[in-house]
Symmetry: C2
Subunit: 257 residues, 2 copies
């Protein structure tokens, strides 16, 4: 039996439709995913519980496999927890997995890689069912040029040129493991996997790739933009709604039970 | 040159997300797709224009390839019309095609077949991105039993048992050309093609197939339900949100220009 004070560390995997939320972190005068999640936990456990999340997504950005951890009493099993949480959460947030993890596990600090997708509808007309989950670009994109440009970003680089201006981090060096561009009919999906991404880095790279796909820039320009380390040389930030945090990766087997 | 009074007959193909609409037909105190479409036409042509639609969808039902026709002045070309209409329509209705057709063409009367899809999420948890476009059934469905049951519905039959009670039509005989059940991961899609469908027929058949998939009824029960001609013997009506009018078919080449 557990003592009344002992709190288990829970890891949850969850999806959300970011359309109605002002990003992840708690802010004044704006409903955030974190706030709604913490309210849900409070309803279940009867006390305030703070969540730590793997990747803070911006307003309008979606997630299929976001991860968070929080400390809570052990009275609800990992099997029941997703059902209990989903019963109190709004329908645009769904918990799909829960597990008890090591006390030291931290969803953000321990994440070793993340996968994001960015969806582009390159058809003549918007798709009503994807209007909130894709960027509609009616002009035909040259996917071959985009693929060549993307290849210059693979590996370890200083990605300062793709960091939102005004943000500050210890280092702007990151490693991109893969950046694949998949075309199925008029849908183009960009898949990014890296050890971490700077603020708005995926959307700034996407915006630059789109300008290359539209032949406004050459694929080789990606090299000089990257080397310049200057945000002003890169393309516009792609809209939030096309972006989705797909998966967060951890080194160690992090489940205890 | 056309006389000022001459009106062209236009056929349009359009998609809509039915979530926010109270069905297709104009009703009091409820926003309908028809109303919004006619308002859009009024903005473009500067006068009231009545549309005739191929298939009147219920509240919450979606369409990927709905068809309508209307009479309007010939001053806007078929190429420009979708762009003009989309610029005044809300983002959950998108016109994807327009053509000038024979004066006799009537979107509903001339339709010789329609395809509908019904999407079921048979995963453990709801999918946030499909929550408005699918029916979530967490209990595992036996697709083989559903396929066997569906096979009894193929061909020409009296489908009175699957017609919403209280509706009246000249004949309740219809022909189902195909009813295929496709499984991809946890998504199950039912594809219906027929010469016409009675009121709520697709949703009533789907509800019955689900009860069979859940082993509440045997596949062979479909035969006796069909033969009984009694709505009370069939299953519950499946929710509107999983249903989508995919395509409307016409016998003749109906484009003039």
């Amino acid at each position: 039996m557990k003592s009344g004070d002992f709190l288990e560390n829970y890891k949850i995997v969850f999806s959300y439709d970011g359309t109605s939320y002002h990003g992840f972190q708690v802010q004044e005068n704006a409903l955030t995913v974190q706030e709604v999640l913490e309210r849900g936990l409070e309803k279940i456990y009867g006390k305030k519980i703070r969540v730590e999340v793997a990747g803070r997504t911006d307003a309008g950005v979606h997630a299929r496999g976001q991860v968070a951890n929080f400390f809570a009493p052990g009275n609800i099993s990992s099997e029941v927890l997703p059902l209990a949480l989903n019963s109190v959460l709004p329908r645009d947030i769904v918990v799909i997995e829960a597990s008890r993890v090591d006390q030291k596990f931290h969803a953000r600090r321990d994440a070793c890689a993340k996968t994001y997708s960015y969806t582009i509808n390159n058809g003549r007309f918007p798709n009503v069912f994807l209007r909130l989950y894709s960027w509609h670009i009616a002009d035909r994109l040259c996917v071959e040029d985009m693929k060549l440009a993307a290849s210059f970003l693979l590996g370890k680089h200083d990605f300062k040129a793709f960091q939102a201006s005004g943000s500050s981090v210890e280092t702007t060096e990151r490693e991109i493991f893969f950046l694949e561009i998949e075309q199925r009919g008029y849908l183009i999906t960009l898949w990014f996997k890296g050890d971490g991404f700077l603020y708005k880095m995926v959307r700034n790279i996407t915006g630059t790739l789109i300008e290359i796909g539209l032949k406004k820039r050459k694929p080789e320009d990606m090299q000089s933009i990257l080397r310049s380390g200057n945000r002003q040389n890169a393309g516009k930030t792609a809209p939030a709604k096309g972006l989705c945090l797909e998966k967060v990766f951890y080194h160690h087997t992090d489940t205890l039970l």
